[in-house]
């Protein structure tokens, strides 16, 4: 019963009930409110009413909103426990101790931070590169619906894939698959053209497309509308091209002339495509109808209903209800209907769609299936990034555990005072977090500094995420922090577990927690791992460079020195006057014409037959038109027979074949043999072989030279000329250019040097070589930093031992041997492990090359020797320092 002398209180059981139903974190304020209300009610209505109301209120609090929270809190561990590590005072203490121990061991801190910072820098650079590659072609928000039609032809169990389509296919896709395709556009590949604005000439890349193309790419219009492409006399220009042609003036409404032939009015400006896009340098887009209005393009109109000639690129955009994959499956057999009378090829080609997202990363095709491509490099570099980061973490682990003796007493005291193991783990991990975070800051600065050079090597334009506003993405910050946490867990996890496991009694009695030999074993394993990775990277780098050397040393079969060529604008009638003037200028030794550049094969053909060929034999050749003096100009090597000659009238039907072609055709005595060429569309004639030339490397220097037939034809496509001996390149261009301007006015020609073009064939390999050189340098650098620290530690630990040895007469050399021995053994073990591992990977890497260098033993020996030398040099500094110390100092301090 209520006691009149004491304050009335709410019923205890109700409070107890509330404790049971109410979430812990809200309990205090709710009970407080209820009690306050109870007081008010008591003074207003008396205790009885107040108690009743109190109970009702308490019961009302058991509503779903609170109960749900309570149940959740039960099923999980307590939602807000008093966490031992979020104790501000302890954290302050951890920080203080961390900074003190960093300051006390400046050398170790420096080694740790620089190793981690180096590792993080490389990891970040590689991540930026991977991110950039990964985003390749992913422009616009609907990029996943864009694709390109691919055609797969199977002959003799070999499937060849190509993006060249018959023209009527576009209409077929539009009409018969309206549920799948929203846009279909025929397009002509990106090419160089001369743009003429008044008197000013510009060399720009552009493409001709059907109007839907602008929606597919998609274009982001700055001025005007993409619909301009429906008008055959309108053009779209990129922002940068507009700037370079018209400056700050108004580009819209200006007239541009393409290749001095096609005229169009600029009707729209689109934003330039990002650097990581296939359309990066696309400066203008012109309507398809403008393209076909050219006289020399009448053949395109003739092919309007021809299903047999595959020439055009077809871009598609699927509806969102469909997908590139689904549509790809549906159009697979479209050609069956149209090519059933196709007698030329054994089987009818199939179709598929190649999604834009994969154009770059998965660019190669093997037997009709989309195989790898750039994605292989992404995987390789990702693996390297992880390994380099691991190396840096290993340094941290090794130095931390090696220094454990110094921290052991602290651990002992902390444990004796009552620290729990968990707290110690948190302490050491947070210490490594500070180290990692600091290294991260250093690394960010390094990345910023190294990015221009890295971009130059990797041929990228990566903007740094933190300084480039356009590229900034808040996720990078989260990833950065998450990354710091991850690295500090990897690097600090083992030391934290190790240090916190010491038994206080042992430590405080003996002064050290380590158990000597046993504790140094993991350290040794990690050093071996570090050197295995470093040596493997060195071996890989040497392998790549050897492969480049190998390709460069392969005989090209022609003379690149002073050889130049230029693409002649289409529609040029006669080159004879120009050729005469060139020869008369005294700069040019010889001039010739061809259908393509000497560093590439533009045209392949089928339908050849010769004596001894059975119907099932393959008959695909590279076909090249070569004029008189072509051979003399490029400097090819005739092995049998003779060159084309103006003395033989019959040479109009003469052909010269290369050695690969002789092998391919299986001819023993090729000179004079007849070859018939009937390709179903244009040609049906008989030719005779007059000569055989040594194989010329026109395509990849790592691939076998393609069987090639050279026809005696004056093709108007490319003009070759060989500079006379001793003529300087700049001097020659200055004199030659006016001649071309005079004979081919209105065109800006792109003069190419055969040697420069040939060097671009090694672009990818050179890039990979340079990058892997950089990576292996960093890897070996980090590893050496690590053993430098370890050697210092060993020297310090064995200070008294060395002192006693010296007192007993040991020489500096023997002290040096004592300390270096262990590290030399570790490096040797690493060499033994690295050899088979790197052999395997190098073999895999080289396997994609048809012509590949051997992997000689000295690569392994040399790399191992280099690593060994570096190890000895690194350790020697510490070893000799230890050997030079006066033993008195070492022994007196005990």
């Amino acid at each position: 019963m209520a006691n009149h002398f004491s304050e009335p209180t709410p019923p205890k059981w109700a409070d107890f009930f509330l404790k049971w139903t109410c979430p812990l974190e809200l309990h205090e304020e709710i009970v407080g409110d209820l009690h306050e209300q109870f007081k008010i009610d008591t003074s207003e209505f008396g205790e009885g009413v107040a108690r009743r109301r109190y109970i009702i209120q308490v019961l009302k609090f058991s509503r779903p909103y609170f109960l749900k929270r309570k149940i959740n809190a039960w099923s999980k561990p307590a939602k807000y426990p008093t966490p031992f590590f979020v104790n501000l005072d302890m954290i302050k203490n951890y920080l203080k101790i961390a900074f003190r121990s960093f300051g006390k061991n400046k050398g170790y801190t420096l080694i740790n931070v620089s190793g981690l910072a180096l590792g993080l820098t490389i990891t970040m650079l590689i991540s930026l590169w991977i991110w950039d590659e990964w985003r390749y072609n992913k422009v616009g928000k609907d990029h996943q619906y864009v694709g390109r039609v691919m055609l797969h032809t199977t002959q003799n169990a070999m499937t060849v894939s190509s993006p060249n389509m018959p023209f009527p296919l576009a209409a077929e896709l539009r009409e018969n698959f309206p549920a799948d395709f929203i846009n279909v556009a025929v397009s002509w590949d990106t090419h160089d053209y001369t743009l003429l604005s008044g008197e000013n000439k510009f060399r720009k890349k552009g493409r001709f497309m059907e109007p839907e193309g602008a929606k597919i790419l998609p274009l982001e219009m700055v001025k005007g509308s993409e619909a301009a492409l429906t008008n055959p006399s309108h053009l779209l220009l990129s922002e940068s091209a507009a700037l370079s042609i018209f400056g700050t003036g108004q580009p819209i409404g200006q007239i541009l002339k393409i290749d001095n032939e096609l005229e169009g009015m600029v009707a729209g400006i689109y934003r330039d495509f990002p650097q990581n896009s296939d359309y990066y340098d696309l400066s203008f887009i012109a309507p398809w109808k403008l393209f076909t209005s050219a006289k020399r393009m009448q053949w395109v109109n003739e092919l309007k209903d021809n299903w047999n000639v595959n020439t055009f690129e077809i871009l598609v955009q699927t509806r969102k209800s469909s997908s590139v994959e689904k549509a790809s499956e549906k159009i697979k057999h479209v050609l069956f209907r149209h090519l059933n009378d196709n007698k030329l090829t054994g089987s009818v080609p199939t179709l598929s769609l190649h999604p834009m997202d994969k154009w770059h990363l998965y660019s190669t095709w093997e037997n009709g299936r989309n195989a790898g491509g750039q994605i292989n490099y992404i995987k390789l570099f990702a693996a390297i990034a992880i390994f380099i980061l691991l190396l840096a973490c290993i340094n941290f682990i090794n130095l931390s555990t090696a220094r454990s003796g110094q921290r052991a007493r602290e651990v002992g005291v902390r444990k004796a005072i009552g620290s729990m193991r968990g707290q110690l783990i948190i302490q050491f991990i947070s210490e490594s977090f500070i180290m990692v975070a600091f290294s991260m800051l250093v690394a960010l600065v390094l990345v910023q500094l190294a990015l221009p050079q890295f971009n130059a090597i990797a041929d990228k334009k990566i903007g740094f995420i933190l300084t480039n506003r356009a590229a900034f993405n808040p996720y990078f910050l989260y990833i950065g922090v998450a990354f710091c946490v991850l690295v500090s867990l990897v690097a600090g996890g083992y030391p934290a577990l190790y240090l916190s496991s010491f038994k206080p009694i042992n430590i405080l009695k003996s002064g050290s927690g380590g158990t000597g030999r046993v504790s140094s074993l993991p350290r040794k394993i990690l050093v071996v791992l570090q050197f295995t990775v470093s040596i493997s990277l060195i071996i890989g780098t040497m392998g790549v460079f050897r492969q480049i050397q190998f390709g460069q040393n392969r005989a090209t079969g022609y003379d690149r020195n002073g050889l130049m060529y230029v693409k002649i604008p289409a529609g040029t009638n006669s080159l004879e006057a120009l050729k005469n003037d060139l020869l008369q200028s005294g700069i040019v030794a010889s001039v010739a014409q061809s259908s393509g550049p000497v560093t590439d094969i533009l045209s392949n053909s089928r339908g050849f037959s010769w004596q001894g060929k059975s119907a099932s034999d393959p008959d695909e050749f590279a076909v090249i038109a070569a004029s008189h003096r072509y051979g003399e100009t490029v400097g090819w090597q005739i092995t049998h027979g003779r060159d084309f000659s103006a003395d033989f009238i019959s040479d109009s039907s003469a052909i010269i074949v290369n050695q690969s072609a002789i092998k391919y055709m299986g001819l023993d005595n090729p000179i004079g043999k007849k070859v018939r060429w009937k390709d179903g569309t244009f040609n049906d004639s008989e030719y005779h072989i007059v000569g055989v030339v040594q194989d010329m490397i026109m395509q990849s220097p790592y691939e076998p030279v393609k069987q090639t037939i050279y026809f005696m034809t004056y093709a108007p496509n490319y003009l070759y000329f060989k500079l006379g001996p001793g003529v300087g390149v700049n001097n020659a261009l200055a004199k030659i250019r006016p001649l071309f301007d005079q004979h081919l006015p209105g065109n800006l020609l792109d003069f190419q040097f055969a040697d420069q073009q040939y060097d671009t064939k090694f672009k990818i390999e050179n890039r990979v070589g340079k990058l892997s050189f950089l990576f292996s340098a960093v890897a070996i650098c980090i590893s050496c930093l690590g053993i430098f620290g370890l050697a210092a530690f060993t020297a310090e630990q064995r200070r008294s031992e060395i002192g006693i040895r010296k007192v007993l007469g040991a020489s500096i050399a023997s002290v040096w041997k004592l300390i270096s021995k262990d590290f030399v053994y570790l490096t040797l073990i690493a060499m033994v492990i690295a050899t088979p591992v790197s052999y395997y990977f190098l073999d895999q890497l080289l396997a994609k090359y048809h012509y590949r260098s051997t992997i000689p033993w000295w690569i392994f020996g040399g790399s191992g020797l280099a690593a060994l030398t570096l190890t000895i040099l690194t350790v020697s500094y510490q070893a000799i320092k230890a050997g030079l110390t006066d033993p008195v100092n070492a022994l007196r301090s005990e």
Binding site: E29, D33, F61
Partner: protein, 108 residues
């Protein structure tokens, strides 16, 4: 703009928090509501409304000082956030607009 849904009761509670300035916590809000409206308002209902408002970002809260009447327990003081203020004025404007759109004879 999609915005968190605000019920009628929540709106009144939010307004009350604004009225009470820095003195808004469970008991005072409930008392104020009891005083101004005829309907019975339970403490638990007010609490739930306040917590929901906080989750939606319309009010902020912090623990205040303990008092003897509460048995030495602290109270949670609520204040209206800028988002809450904007929400209130938006709703007021909407109502005003709606009122103004009603043809005159209808009101009289």
């Amino acid at each position: 703009m999609a915005r968190a849904y605000l019920g009628e009761f929540e709106e009144i509670v939010l307004l009350t928090v604004a009225v009470l300035q820095s003195e808004a916590y469970g008991v005072t809000v409930a008392a104020e509501l009891n005083r101004r409206t005829e309907r019975p308002v339970s403490l638990s209902g007010v609490h739930v409304a306040l917590y929901r408002l906080e989750e939606k970002g319309f009010v902020n809260s912090e623990l205040g000082s303990p008092t003897a009447a509460r048995g030495g327990r602290r109270k949670r003081i609520f204040t209206v956030t800028t988002l809450g203020k904007n929400m209130l004025s938006d709703m007021r404007e909407l109502r005003n607009q709606l009122w103004e759109s009603i043809p005159l004879p209808f009101i009289s």
